[in-house]
Amino acid sequence: MILDTSAVIAIIQREPGWQQIRSQLEQANLLRISAGTLQELLLVAHCRGVLDVVEELLLLLDADVVPVDEDLARRAGGTDAVSACQCRGRLLRHRIIKGFGDDMPANNAIHSLLSDFFRSWTAAHCFELWDRPKSDPAQTLANTTGGARSDSYL
């Protein structure tokens, strides 16, 4: 089972469906989270003021953190990755954890991690823009229009 940002936030803030997610977590033999998702999760938790609590929950969950390296990032440029992102978007809308069982083909899990990588990169970019001083609107606009917008998952 691969852990998703929205699922952790849903649990910690008792959002609709959190009991189902908890039940899945209790039953999962293997729990993983990509390093990209972890970064995104910590950013979102910070913005919501629940960073410390989420850190405690992560300790409790004891998930394996899976690294996202350059090789995975470069492979994310393919059409398969695009479809994986679309698939991921549907999952996010339903705010669930997608259970990737041990029998799931490995490439599907990789695709999931790739979409995590994209989302984490754009999250970092958003927050970089967010923290930029307003006194430099031209630079901010240039960066805003030139960069990816990714606020749908926050």
Binding site: Q13, V53, W130, K134, Y153
Partner: protein, 52 residues
């Protein structure tokens, strides 16, 4: 042998995770409810597309 050990390790982790969730999740959720502040992603940018 190695696979069997790995399976057992994961089983133990699952049991421990389940027990911890039952014991500690509710207090953590209460803590989060007390600390959480509203955060709307749409507030990141204004109507002009600039960070708000």
């Amino acid at each position: 042998m190695r696979e069997a050990l790995e399976r057992e390790l994961q089983r133990q982790r699952r049991i421990r995770r389940s027990a911890r969730l039952q014991q500690d999740l509710s207090p953590l959720q209460d803590q989060a409810a007390a600390l959480a502040r509203p955060f709307d992603a749409s507030e990141l940018y204004g109507a002009d597309g600039l960070p708000g």
